[in-house]
């Protein structure tokens, strides 16, 4: 049931992804198609899994308790990722047309897609209690490359969007106005880029620690057998 939170939040993504097909070429489109198929299937499986678990237990109370910890964990960890992805998709790539043909977009799309395919297979198999070690291993190993790859792509894309945003004043509000409020999207984007500096290492090292915990246990287990 740990998939519940990412499942619901990622559902939004499957709606969002097709709209971005204005710029990227055939390769990215293929990835996006696979991406969507996997997402839809994964979400359905999660929903089915929840119902099955409820029927097996017979009540709501135990259900929440059993998913509470993983739910909180994935919710908190996932929320950052989800927010950053939705932001990248809509507020940067979609909004700033000039950016859509940049290579950096392909970079983070690839990283996200591979990550998600692995992650959703991981959740699916976990729910069915048949988690192949390969998937688990892949999930906790591929990130070594995929995280930096995704982050680089995201940062480059935002950076590419900056001059356009400054020139057109996109999403910005200036004084004077009757609400006495202002917002400078250009500065906001720069602050976002800066926020990657503390955030990314935290997430990265958290995954490394998780890896030790998860893969470490399995190694002990196989030794016992």
């Amino acid at each position: 049931m740990s998939a519940a939170a990412p499942g619901t939040s990622k559902a939004a993504h499957s709606d969002v992804a097709p709209k971005r097909k204005k710029g990227p070429g055939a390769l990215a489109t293929a990835y996006l198609v696979i991406y969507n198929v996997v997402m839809t299937a994964g979400w359905l499986v999660i929903a089915v899994g929840l119902v099955r678990a409820y029927l097996a237990r017979g009540s709501y109370h135990g259900l929440y308790y059993s998913i509470e910890k993983p739910l909180k964990f994935f919710q908190t960890g996932a929320i950052l990722e989800v927010m950053s992805r939705v932001f990248l998709t809509w507020a940067v790539t979609h909004s700033v047309r000039e950016v859509q043909s940049e290579d950096s977009v392909l970079l983070f799309v690839t990283a996200w897609t591979v990550t998600e395919i692995i992650r959703y297979s991981f959740y699916t198999f976990s729910l069915l209690n048949h988690l192949p070690f390969l998937i688990k291993w892949a999930r906790y190993t591929f990130f070594f490359v995929l995280y930096p790859m995704g982050v680089t792509g995201e940062l480059l894309t935002i950076y590419a969007a900056l001059p356009y945003v400054q020139k057109t004043g996109l999403y910005s509000v200036t004084l004077p106005n009757k609400y006495n409020f202002s917002f400078d999207y250009y500065t906001f984007l720069i602050l976002i880029m800066i926020s990657y500096i503390p955030l990314f290492p935290q997430l990265y090292f958290h995954m490394i620690r998780q890896r030790k915990k998860v893969l470490g246990h399995v190694e002990d287990y196989s030794k016992v057998e």
């Binding site: 004084l175 004077p176 106005n177 009757k178 609400y179 006495n180 409020f181 202002s182």
Partner: protein, 265 residues
Amino acid sequence: PTATVLDIKALFHKSCEDEEVLQTLPVGTTASFYFSDLGPQLTWGTVFLSECVGPLIIYLMFYFRLPFIYSPKYDFTTSKHWIVHLACMCHSFHYIKRILETMFVHRISHGTMPLRNIFKNCGYYWCTAAWMAYYINHPLYTPPYYGQQQVNTGLYIFLFCQVGNFSIHVALRNLKLPGSKAKKIPYPTKNPFTWIFWLVSCPNYTYEVGSWIGFTVMTQCVPVAFFTLVAFIQMTVWAKGKHRGYLKEFRDYPTLRSSILPFIL
């Protein structure tokens, strides 16, 4: 064994009843105390003061348009709008009142709070004060749409709620006799501002939200509205907690009362 809890407490940060002598505690001849060191602590009084002094000073810095905030040609100038001066007076009054209350009115029951909280809380209060002050005192500030009428309405609401808030604080203080730790249900007194106790458990929060709504109407400023909303949410959480505490503590707690908004919340 004949040491009191207070003696041990002097060595650690744990909270327990100070007056109990170890020997009389129902724990047998050997008791193990488990302590969790919560880290360096500060008294609530200290925290409240720093939370209030910050916004007071910061707002004034923007009001007097100190250098490096706005464009240099506006340094040390004053606004031509009467509302800006009024807003400064209200904001400053609010925080001075709070500081005085913390020093002379409040009786704080919890001893301390962790050091980390002060950074978190102060950071929030100071930053939002700066954010609000920036726009209200900005050279390009736009006075409220409905003019003097709107300003007056906002002002009356603000003042009414400030007096109300103060009345509640005094009433709550009078509930607790110095030295006694007995808890009592607050009831309306002769002061009309306390009559809201018929309907609400935590009218101090109700009046506080009211003050900020008044200030928002008065200044017509989105950051102020945002701050008011966040404050409302936070205070509702606190009020609900307090309300639940009352219900648990007192069997005969008045059933008409809600936590913060009469009949609603």
